[in-house]
Symmetry: C2
Subunit: 307 residues, 2 copies
């Protein structure tokens, strides 16, 4: 079987064709067009350009219902209530499963990535925001409406930092990319002597996640402290998920997974510190994702076999 | 089939025999004895006293492994690493499934209570602490080690109020019985004129949950405010679980379920307020449990069919 999958991102489409082992045979990229009609057209074109395949699946950012309707997407302007499942199924004369991009990434990491051979896995994608997917008792679980895994909007600080979603204190304001920069700027307010500030051209307001990462890699003490505090925020959300779901493994993906060495130590240490009854249970392992930016497309290709 | 179930509480055992419809045919209570050996003996005696039955299941407070070992229990003095499953199976010459008491309650409410006919249900027991159980895709889910549903120790306030578990800011410090009293005492600090204080004999330190409930039932404005604030804390944890799991129904049980009218309004209002993307999804319903204090024993009796 040759299975095609397309991951729709805010800036680009990534399409792959995989074989039965999940090995990528073909890979194509396209810029994401603007508007729902152009989006559907470009998806059809890209699927054709991927060459002959036996099935197609698509991952999209945002809230996707179990029947493949994209309710809304913060990263796709003008896209609302788009019945992508029906549109693509009509275009190809065959069912085209659609799911949330982080759910697709979870599926791929579970099948052929860091969560291979696990039965109870939680994937958390740490990027600009936080998303994820859940495997329980050997199956991907989507929830009643398909919206399970919206971990980024778990409230971890009542009356905390404002979130673009309209609420306050959402986990992704602290434990995703923007959280890292925020912690760094706060730390620099007290102690401005840091390589982070140099890398940002001397302006605290311009300090971003990559400056923290680079400074920490170079051994800057304040940057390492910032990474530690950030690791605590990541761990706090993981602990909440562990107390609720008791998984055997957490797989961390998204942009931050590009530099796992920096984060893994602090996250694991804080996880142990914050978990309920840590001495009475085997701890879930915490690993970084293995499939990189292709995870979403590979998982999309696998949707047909897991829907 | 006549199925027997025993719910082991900190102060009493409650044993039932149910028929295939979950109707209670027999009910017995005993004081909880002290120490692990007395506990096992008393369980055997009570099971025999329940009369002829085809199966037995037992619910216990604390962390229970999937093979029926009670790792530890804050409510049963001296009980640690008690292999209750093996002990009782040996005594009766048949497998005796053991599970966490809140998990048993969830099973009962799902099968014959407020969650009847649901496929994705989360039960949350609001008592002295908070426990719970999870049904996903029509099955009870226990997690890798059997410890799923320990909702009370999800951290909702980093560096918050100390919890006996050794960590800080656990949900059960805010949204269970002790949380209600805590909120009331705080409110009384600013505005001491309240029926709550009268009911507590004039001492702020003696104000407990039942005083708040009674004062609120009588229409005391401050008590109603306290209930509203408390409802927000309950809703916050439910929202976090909804963002992660997207269930179709929450069932709220435990001691607070005795006066649902007081709490349901505030909890539902705050849930809507705090949920991510509330306008884009059907909301889970939020209902109070229907089986009262027998839920644990009824669910224990049902374990055999769901293990």
């Amino acid at each position: 079987m040759r299975r095609a999958g397309i991951d729709v991102g805010g800036t680009k489409f990534l399409g792959v064709v995989i074989d039965d082992d999940g090995t990528v045979l073909t890979e194509l990229r396209r810029a994401t067009p603007v508007g729902p009609e152009a989006l559907v057209e470009e998806l059809v074109l890209l699927a054709n350009d991927l060459g002959s395949h036996d099935s197609l699946g698509v991952g999209v950012p945002g809230l996707v219902t179990r029947t493949g309707i994209l309710r809304s997407s913060p990263h796709l302007a003008g896209v609302e209530e788009l019945d992508l499942g029906r549109r693509l199924s009509a275009a190809f004369g065959a069912a085209v499963p659609i799911d949330n991009d982080a759910t697709c990434a979870a599926l791929a990491e579970w099948q052929v990535g860091a969560g291979r051979a696990s039965v109870d896995m939680v994937m958390v994608t740490l990027g600009t925001g936080i998303g994820g997917g859940i495997v329980i008792d050997g199956r991907l679980r989507r929830g009643r409406n398909g919206f399970a895994g919206e971990f980024g909007h778990m409230v971890v600080v009542p009356d905390g930092v404002e979130c673009p979603c309209g609420r306050r204190g959402c986990w992704e304001r602290y434990a995703a990319g923007t959280g890292l920069a925020h912690i760094a700027r706060e730390a620099l307010g007290d102690r401005p002597r840091s390589r982070m500030l140099e890398l940002a051209g001397g302006s605290v307001d311009l300090v971003r996640g990559e400056h923290v990462q680079r400074a920490a890699s170079e051994g800057d003490p304040l940057a390492l402290e910032v990474i530690d505090r950030f690791g605590r925020w990541v761990a706090l959300g993981l602990v909440n998920l562990a107390n609720a779901l008791d998984p055997e493994i957490f797989v961390l993906g998204g942009g931050l997974a590009a530099t796992p060495d920096l984060y893994l130590g602090p996250i694991r240490t804080w996880f142990h510190e914050l978990l309920y009854a840590p001495e009475l249970r085997p701890h879930p392992s915490i690993e970084f994702a293995q499939l990189g930016e292709r995870a979403g497309a590979i998982g999309a290709a696998m949707l047909g076999a897991h829907h």
